[in-house]
């Protein structure tokens, strides 16, 4: 894999995360527990879709094969997606959705802060724009995790269950590989492993305040960001997300 190919892979990872997570969040439309949450979830989804457009737009540019952000979003099959497994996990209840969001947001904000100093100006530019939105996301999702963790015994129980369920999907965000190695070497992006300590510290604080117990096992599922083995959930998500483009290929909307 040469530098350009690695860069393309990296950009797909950056773009597929908000694409798939944004899709999941948008599934909540009109179904949130309170009106303010309907608005907030739509807002989060909106930000994430906007970020997707920028990252996948750049990915298409770097690839140089004439694929647009929409082409990448709508016309790849599961194996070509590079989002972490966490992003594609189903919504579950509202607590599970917010726990997934927090675990990701906390990673996302740390990553974007570092990317704002990327040696590649385009990457730095997108990151600088996105990091403001994501700083707000993590503030919200953190507050919600704390509020529900330290709420009633029922809400506590559900949040602990959500944490236990999603914890095995956290580790994948921090694994280094050939792609991230090349990006680090080029000064384009940090090795994900270098974000782990800060993430751990922040998550530890949040969970302490939320009175939630972080699982002991650090077993981590893998296969999302390399595309080698997504979960069964992604394929079902794509049947919806890509439906129109697949059914009416070549039409403009």
């Amino acid at each position: 894999m040469n530098r350009e190919e690695a860069f393309f892979e990296f950009l797909c990872r950056m773009g597929d995360n908000p694409l798939i997570l944004g899709h999941r969040v948008s599934e909540w439309c009109g179904l949130a527990p309170v009106l303010e949450e309907d608005i907030a979830l739509a807002n989060t989804a909106l930000d994430l879709i906007g970020q997707t457009q920028m990252w996948l737009g750049l990915a298409g540019e770097v690839e140089g094969a004439g694929r647009s952000a929409d082409d990448l979003a709508m016309l790849r099959d599961v194996w070509d997606f590079r989002n972490v497994l966490l992003a594609e996990q189903p919504n579950g209840d509202f607590g599970q959705t917010m726990m997934r969001q927090y675990l990701f947001d906390q990673f996302h904000v740390l990553l974007l802060q570092r990317l704002a100093e990327s040696s590649d100006e385009r990457v730095a530019g997108i990151a600088a724009k996105s990091v403001k939105e994501v700083a707000y996301h993590v503030e919200r999702s953190r507050d919600t995790v704390i509020g529900l963790g330290d709420g009633t015994s029922e809400s506590h129980r559900r949040m602990q269950a959500a944490l236990d369920l999603l914890w095995p999907f956290a580790g994948e965000m921090f694994t280094d590989d050939a792609v991230s190695g090349q990006m680090a070497e080029a000064g384009i992006a940090p090795q994900p492993s270098t974000l782990r300590a800060d993430w751990d510290a922040a998550v530890r604080d949040t969970m302490a305040e939320a009175t939630l117990v972080i699982p002991e096992s650090d077993f981590a599922h893998a296969g999302g960001k390399t595309g080698t083995r997504h979960t069964e959930h992604l394929g079902h998500l794509l049947t919806q997300m890509q439906w129109l483009q697949r059914a009416y290929h070549g039409a403009t909307w």
């Binding site: 739509a42 909106l46 709508m74 330290d150 809400s155 039409a251």
Partner: protein
Amino acid sequence: PEKLAEFQARIDAGDKIEPKDWMPLGYRKTLIRQIGQHAHSEIVGQLPEGNWITRAPTLERKAILLAKVQDEAGHGLYLYCAAETLGVTRDELTEMLLDGRMKYSSIFNYPTLTWADMGAVGWLVDGAAIMNQVPLQRTSFGPYSRAMIRICKEESFHQRQGYDIMMKMANGTPAQKKMAQDALNRFWYPSLMMFGPSDKESVHSEQSMAWKIKMNTNDELRQKFVDQTVPQAEYLDLTVPDENLKWNEDTGHYEFSQPDWSEFFDVLKGNGPCNRERLAARNKAWDDGKWVRDGLLAHAEKKAARKVAAE
């Protein structure tokens, strides 16, 4: 009775009534019903469009649709706030929606079956809504009037977006054009129904108009909607599904067929294509969300108590 005359005089003079002002019980009740129904419509109205957010054809279209649905939730919020100034809580209104005591606009009991419906909903449904809402910017109740001013601005933006979708479809592939025509076929008459039955049959109309809660008759608004929409359909090269539609030179208006009012009353009774699904979805959201609302409340109380203890 004196107060009543004074009240009517203020209204006639174009004064705005504010929440703390005296007002007749009927005025208050009618407003609560009307603003509440309007708020509920914004909330339930998220569902038919939400049905296509996960299937939006491009990232841009998805973003636009998300923003629109977000606006609708926002409108719901303003309107519940306006209603709350009349002495009813949002939760009370919500419960009345959920158990069927209060209604929402019947249009949202129609299904969205293709992407073109996102265009038709914006173009026709928001179009009809605006037609109803623009005059209400001058309604006599201050908070309602101010909410409508804000809402109308966004709605007309939504309508243009809807028309833009229709335009893309109508000028697209044959399949897309067919989709657009199909959407117009399904949404035309339900949109006409949005103005309500002819005022001759409407009981509350006269009093509401005197109070400036209702600014125009249903028939006036419906005619205005038809006059505005037919040329737009022609521009799209789509056919309004009404064989009797024709321009009347003398009146300067279109003549058109009335919708099937028995269908209207069926939908109102709960027999619309989606009444059950819409209410079930809202009830499920509310019931499933109870632990969240309780949890966040409990946390807020704990936090407040800790703060007090610390002071």
